[in-house]
């Protein structure tokens, strides 16, 4: 049971937890948290695989992928929260631009 495998399993756990959160939780903030967790889980799996390679240094490719992933996840969070806030503002009677209900 090498360390990378442990981290990989924890990664798998985090993915499942994140998925559970996305499905069950309805509050946008909690859903965003769940999304981030799921992302971290996936990245954990990748990086633990990178660590376990027999080469002298860990496999750089997963690292690059995870870096990209982290940036994307941050973007997701930003858009999701902005959307949530805008919807909250809209539902409090601040009429948005769109007049037609179509």
């Amino acid at each position: 049971m090498s360390a990378p495998l442990l981290y990989a399993l924890v990664g798998a756990g985090l993915v499942s937890l994140g998925a559970w959160g996305l499905v069950v939780r309805t509050h946008p903030v909690r859903k965003t948290v769940a999304a981030n967790l799921m992302g971290s889980g996936a990245f954990l799996i990748l990086v633990s695989a990178a660590r376990a390679t027999p080469a002298e240094r860990p496999d750089p490719v997963p690292h690059a992928l995870v870096l990209t992933g982290i940036v994307v996840t941050m973007a997701t969070t930003a858009v999701a929260l902005a959307l949530a806030k805008r919807r909250a503002a809209a539902s409090e009677g601040h009429s948005g631009e769109g007049a037609s209900d179509g």
Binding site: A19, L22, V23, V24, T26
Partner: protein
Amino acid sequence: MSSVNFTPLLFLGFALGDTTTRTFAATAAAVWILAGVYAFASEAPGKRLRLAAFYLPAAAGGIACMLAANALSFYAAYTLAALSSAGLVAWNGNERARKAARIYLALTVVSEALLLAVLMIAAGRSWSWALPGLREEWARAPEAGLVMWLLTASLMIKCGSTIFAGILPLQYENAPAGAAAALAGASAKIGLLAMLWLLPLGVPGFESWGAAYVAIGLSSAFLGVALGLLARSPRAMLGYSSASQMGLAFVAVGAALIAPRTAGIPALAAVVAFTVHHALAKSALVLGSDASGAGRSAIGRALDAVLLALPAAALVGAPLTSGFVAKLALKSALASAGPSPIVEAATSLLPISSVATGLLMIRFLLAVRRSAPAQQTPPLLGRAAWYALTGLSAAAALAGPWSFSSYAREHLLDPHAVWSATWPALAAVALTAAARVARLSAPGMETGDLLTYGHDAGLRAIAWLAGRVAKRTRPTAETRSHRALVLDEERLFPTAVAMGVFVALAVLLAVLLARAG
């Protein structure tokens, strides 16, 4: 590249044909022309154009029919005559006439359809269209039995035999006098010509049909007269008498079928003789019933009465009349039909039918005298036509024997034959006298009897069907407002559940793939 379509151009082919068709054509022409003269003379000037619109096509059809050379043209002329006569029947426009016309039209259309079927099947079985050889072709075809049934039905309707007797009085009663005379004289005869063209007279193997035809003939002869006695108006009586006279033609044809080789020629002669006799006598009578005794001096009325009695006597078959000649020819046909029970019965029943006809004629003459001169006297031209027609009918008595049947010629003056022709007339007179003494007055009956009830029932059926159909296909007036089944998917399949299902689906796909490896 040849084509299978060899319909003759405008496929109306006509030819003078042999003596029989020529005689038919001549008689028809005479009747249509003289009756026409009478009709136009007696009709008000304003309505003459309308009369012509119906009378002329009927006449053309009637005469063309006699001269048809192939099946198509025969059927075309037949239809033209039949349909345009419907206009004549519905002439005076009141509800009774319209109803009569409807009945007449319905029956004619049916008979015409049956004839069409016969012609089509016959033409189907033979490569040529010509009429002459047609009957040999279909007689040998597998559908011979079917054709025979169809042809018989068509002829029975056209000639008003047995149950269809009512069709003739309906025509005579409602059509204007002249037209009625023409219908009486010529249109029924088309049926007889159809018999000669289409029935398998020379072909062996139709003996049972022969017996049937004789039976039909006899029954319609007696039924016609019985209904005639019940009729009210003189023309209706004449209609019923025509129906019964047609029966005699059926008997002659029956004889020819029973013994094709022996009775063929005499039967043909009998039918021709009968046609000429009946056409002229009956049309004269019809004209007479309208023209005679109309507002004339006593002498004039007496003269009319005599002129009327002559054709009546002919009908009864009194000696020295065309009727006598026809009866003789018929007797000779029956004699040569060989020994069979039905033929014996027919020969014995013939004189009785003459008695019955006699009774009917006497009743007709009395009825004519009783019906006071309702209309104004027809113009001279009309009366002249009537005289000419009566003259022709008498003349036929003389010309007949020489041209038609040799048997008739020999027996013309034979005392036995003469007596066998006179006693029925005397008996009829005696019976009428007895009936008058006992004040037996026959109850009146609406003309067309059976058919009028059939007509009313038919109309009710159509109305019922139309009603039921209308109810079923009434357009759903208000397309039931599209009751939108308001399905909000959020209630049916909430997003949270859907996401859960998605995760499960992801696992399922993964497992499916993994296991399949």
